[in-house]
Symmetry: C2
Subunit: 495 residues, 2 copies
């Protein structure tokens, strides 16, 4: 195993980008201290560091849990309080389980019926472009599937090591998995000045540089973006596909936020759909794996660890290896598979649960849209903070100006300057966000990632507090700077 | 990624030992053909190939599912049909979840409360020897934890590659994980003539040989044994610990069958307990990771993918790396964590569910004990089959005599002879078992692994059919041999 750098090593993200370490570890400590009655300038720790909707109070969608509870404890099938369509779905799913129980293993790629349902879901989503169950692999959350595909693609030593292109800023699963697999991480930078758009020129530059020292083989795209919240335009996706075709790169499309699109004029386009609409030249040859999850969207069922990937144009022998690879861990959690099935096979008009389901789903998504806008607007009113529109996903990734004196003090402590800022923020306000250095960013720029998940009223307060804190932080360190300067002047004059 | 050999490559087990491929793939095909109305010499395929109790009709333990259903759909907390102790457990667990929901991520090592409950469970099991929550890591089934620990231990290239000692026959997760990690698999053979006992002399031999070409660093023990069903004596465990101490090997104790001990005079001894009873010389220095799972025992909840490991005497810096390593996949399924909690924290005398819980648990375990004995006895009555006592776990691993003519025919087909036998068995009887070559066995010996999980009456029939099939198979191939011999004689005479 390779040794990893800690979260404070310059430029090196923690394995989890600090979601779970650094400021998050500190947050846990603070919570314990509060519980033990310690006096703090705040009464609760607000975890805006991780995309965990239900931890922030989002209620589970009733229908998803009803079907799951019926599968969990089939005696409930006799309970008149459960709606008939939930029972019907549960019966159908149980009939597809070994021994009619979710306690049996499924086959390694997941329950056949659910893979079919996923394929039908993809077909509907993509306007009828065919999808086949044999190309669907259910997974233990999207992370599991992403790591599996990377494992499959990566090989070699020295100059023949596999290179994988990832966006910067990125979701740190990628850097962590690549380090673990001894692959080369090839950074391509998203364009902050253009709403974190993908630039083909930048892809070319990154690829050309990388070819000097490794074998680039794959290109990862996160759309909608994490941590950056942009939604790629159809044109950009076409460009990426053309680029992948020209350079014979395997495409990994991380599309777990496909339901989370808020901005007017933004729309989710799946890589699969765009690929097929570009005609057989591309759709017959570009290798693609796309990923989805039940942890995000309107469901936010992170704890279930459910997801799937679809592979397109994979060499049949490689796909056989993929099947072997996933068989080691036996099967993804069946509870997650079952819940995924309800997500891809939702109540239809006329079903007893249809109305309630739609209302709950819509309430979650429109609340997120409202919070996305509020977040952007509030940050952009604050001097020294600049925030791109949160077009999708669940995060804002604003850029913050940090006074030179603060940067120096952080460096003297061996901390990344934005980690220094985030820790101070946490200590003074109880608000936990992730420093941009955990995701990668252009040299000399500073950011943090914050989820838009706190309930609206709480989010308003959080955003106010953060803006005020940044103003105070900036003022204090600028005064220090002035003080330092005047001291220097005084010393000079005294000489 | 390394290329793996297929299941039929001589001596090389499939990644899943054929549980899921080879004969299991064939079984799936046969099932489909039967469903489509094809005529076969049997009416159903019986999957005795995989340790999946509920797939074989074992009913889930009511209390486990009640608590899980309450956590899944907390509205049920108002339902008078659920017992009060189940509700109390569910409330306690929900209070420990982010946002009081099993849909939130847990921290990566698992919910703190459940880790504490696991530690208390281990203390009770081991007669009071202390266990600490910080050394407990919840996992996605035991396989996940085993692969994680191997990943942590393995490094190097060429002669400095890490070697890991595993029993032969073994559970093929080990060979698959070691191949994937580019580690050296060091085989030590269990002694079939002594009920698959572990022999220290054999451990020494294997280690000495391995030191010529790699760096042995760890020793895996499966107790009770899979696929071999033996339960190691306390004396043997002491010997192993002493050996590990002398040779500075990290011990991996796969104890997922700790509740599955049937034979009179056999008893489960945890490595942890024996280690601590051997005094501070050993308990203060031997590094140990032990594994448990909710997939086996009396619960058989394979689909939930729950389990834990406890690490002992791990270097604090290594344990930090372990924490980082597990953070990549975010967290084990919370549904599995919750169910695990009920397993380690069972109803107590006086609780409303106590009696029913004990009855159900006892019914499963005594039925398994009965089936273990039946299996051994029936096989040992069949000429050409010899079966060690099934002291524990869920499998018989009988040795079968295969006529030389059958061995030759298999080899001509490029099949392992026991794979050839198992495929014929499947085609003629619908019974699916795993060839011994999937687990490793002494050169020139042939076995198969069969679960004892089918319901008693069905198991009786299965065992009869298998004995009859083996007799017929032996007779047919012996006649072929005679025929071949007499043809040769006739040819010679005709010359």
């Amino acid at each position: 195993m390779e040794q990893w750098q800690g979260p404070t090593a310059a430029g090196e993200p923690a394995r989890d980008g600090g979601e779970r370490s650094g400021s998050a570890g500190e947050a846990l400590e603070l919570e314990k201290e509060l519980q033990q009655g310690a006096k703090k300038p705040f009464t609760e720790v607000i975890r805006a560091n991780i995309g965990d909707a239900q931890a922030m109070g989002q209620k589970p969608i009733t229908f998803l849990r009803q079907v799951s509870a019926l599968c969990m404890f089939p005696d409930l099938l006799k309970d008149p309080n459960f709606p008939e369509d939930a029972k019907e779905k549960a019966r159908r799913l149980l009939a597809a389980c070994g021994g009619h129980s979710i306690g049996a293993y499924s086959v390694s790629p997941g329950i056949e019926l659910i893979r079919q349902d996923v394929a039908h879901f993809i077909e509907r989503r993509d306007g009828g472009i065919p999808s086949r169950a044999e190309n669907i692999f259910l997974s233990t959350g999207a992370s599991d599937a992403i790591v599996t595909i990377l494992k499959l693609l990566v090989s070699g030593e020295g100059r023949s090591r596999t290179g994988v292109m990832i966006p910067i800023p990125q979701y740190p699963l990628y850097s962590a998995a690549l380090a673990e697999l001894n692959a080369v991480q090839i950074n391509y930078y998203l364009d902050e000045d253009k709403c974190w758009a993908l630039d083909i020129g930048e892809l070319r530059r990154a690829l050309k540089d990388a070819r000097q020292h490794c074998q680039p083989r794959a290109l990862c795209i996160i759309n909608p973006g994490n941590p950056t919240g942009q939604v790629q335009s159809r044109q950009h996706i076409e460009d990426v596909i053309r680029f992948a075709w020209e350079e014979q790169l395997f495409l990994l499309a991380d599309e777990v936020y496909q339901d989370n699109v808020y901005a007017e004029g933004s729309q989710f386009h799946s890589f699969k759909k765009v690929l097929f609409e570009m005609g057989p030249k591309y759709s017959g040859s570009v290798e693609l794996a796309s990923f989805h999850s039940i942890s995000k969207g309107f469901m936010g069922e992170c704890g279930f660890r459910g997801g799937y990937m679809e592979v397109i144009n994979m060499d049949p022998l490689v796909q056989q290896q993929l099947s072997k690879l996933i068989s080691v861990r036996l099967c993804p959690p069946v509870t997650g598979q079952v819940l995924l099935d309800v997500v891809v096979n939702q109540p239809q008009p006329g079903d007893p649960s249809y109305q309630q389901f739609c209302q709950e789903k819509q309430a979650v998504l429109s609340s997120l849209a409202q919070k996305a806008q509020l977040t952007e607007e509030t940050f952009n009113r604050a001097p020294g903070i600049r925030c791109n529109p949160v077009q999708g996903a669940m995060y804002a990734f604003p850029r913050v100006h940090l006074p030179p004196q603060a940067v120096q003090e952080a460096q003297a402590l061996g901390q990344a300057p934005d980690m220094f800022f985030c820790l101070k923020l946490l200590e003074e306000t109880g608000i936990c966000v992730v420093p941009g250095s955990g995701f990668g960013q252009k040299e000399g720029t500073f950011h943090f990632r914050m989820t838009i998940l706190p309930p609206l009223e709480k989010l308003k307060v959080v955003l106010q507090k953060m803006s005020q804190f940044h103003a105070k932080f900036t003022q204090e360190y600028s005064q220090l700077q002035l003080l330092g300067n005047s001291q220097k002047t005084a010393e000079k004059q005294g000489q």
